[in-house]
Symmetry: C2
Subunit: 218 residues, 2 copies
DNA sequence: CCAAAAGTGTTGCAGCTACACCCATGT
DNA sequence: ACATGGGTGTAGCTGCAACACTTTTGG
């Protein structure tokens, strides 16, 4: 049986970064590959998405097949699709993040071959494909979940502003996104304290009111 | 020319949720579809990923082709792949988020046909495919960027814990993820104040030390 | 009685909120 | 002169960080 299309299609897989804590350390579940490419290397559990299943369903199915773990909450981590990430053909993978409590470690009981093993994050083998990137994305996501500083992610919000902007424009952008009015003085203190703005020593002109100082984000 | 595979492959597209602020309101850039399915309906700009290009590159290319916008920072929003989201064949889309400042609106100048238009988020037409879902994911992401409350995303961290856990176990999980030691009293105050824990009125037993109270996350 | 982990309050400080008036420009 | 938006300080409060000892169990 074969499948033919008018245009080339990539293969699509789901890979799961599944973390647990063992002996007070973060561990990730890896599978030892039985086939080429990367035969013998360790890889994230995962596999091809089937044509009639949702992405998350596919990820859950692969996870169950390869590790015996079921009923695990999966959260999408993102798509990884560098053209050369798989030597066989173009493969785009949708990565998922999952966490399991230490008491759910029925692992080797459920999986027959048991080529699935927990690896300490501080002592990892070389991984197949670009799985190291994916794993790192999972680590970052996990770290961000418990960190409350806004700095990194809010930076893109400044993309709404032109290169040179006034504080009033910046305030307006934040107000629109947050959907609430902000106090002018407090906003100015906040933005000056939390973002590196450079005063361009320039003023707007043309409004029939006092000109405003222009800033740029450093 | 046609392309044949041993297993069925989905098509993969990139769609871009591109926001701007016009007249103090959030707007999103939509394209009016010229072809079936959903001919005439509005849709997010996007199109098929080519086999030799990275996901982000493909998104940027499609955005440029359809709207004339270039040099825009794209951030991955996630993959959307419900099996029935496209009536023609299985299509998985990788969505991207982009923001443009109001002064970059060279839009209609660059694009010939100009079937691209900014739409106010509070007055949207029906969208093609599942683009409404994707758009909403973009809105949420944008809102989260400027919100500093931890509540929603940190909830999954509790998946590291068994259903019944002690406060010491919870603290240990947070310490491992954050990579730093936390003060016991402050942690207890924080967790009680910010998470709905129910005291199970049960104690651990068996340790050669004082038994600990068990809690579960409500 | 000793070891091991559980449990418990207070104080100082930093950062946030609330709040009202004068300033510079164009018409 | 007036209309329009730009620019500025302070006081109270709240939430977070720092910090040490007593309690309960098992061996």
């Amino acid at each position: 049986m074969s499948y033919t299309y008018d245009y080339p299609h990539p293969a699509v897989t789901a890979d799961i970064v599944i973390f647990s804590i063992r002996d007070e350390e973060l561990h990730v579940l890896l599978i030892q590959r039985k086939l080429n490419p990367f035969k013998g290397a360790w890889a994230l559990p995962g596999g091809f998405i089937q044509m009639d299943e949702d992405l998350e369903t596919g990820a859950a199915r692969e996870l169950a097949e390869e590790t015996g773990l079921t009923g695990i909450h999966l959260e999408q981590l993102g798509a990884f699709g560098r053209p050369d990430r798989d030597p066989r053909e173009r493969v785009i993978t949708i990565a998922f993040l999952a966490l399991v409590p230490s008491d759910k470690l029925v692992l080797s009981a459920a999986t027959d071959a048991s080529d699935a093993q927990w690896h300490n994050l501080s002592d990892l083998p070389k991984l197949a494909f670009d799985h190291e990137n994916i794993l790192n994305a999972g680590r970052e996501r996990l770290a961000n979940m418990v960190s409350s500083d806004i700095a990194q992610s809010a930076r893109v919000v400044f993309k709404f502003l032109p290169g040179k902007f006034t504080l009033a424009q910046a305030q307006s952008v934040f107000e629109i996104i947050k959907g609430e009015a902000l106090d002018k003085r407090n906003f100015r203190k906040w933005i000056m304290a939390n973002w590196a703005l450079t005063d361009l020593e320039e003023k707007t002109q043309g409004g029939r009111h006092r000109p405003a100082a222009l800033y740029s984000l450093t």
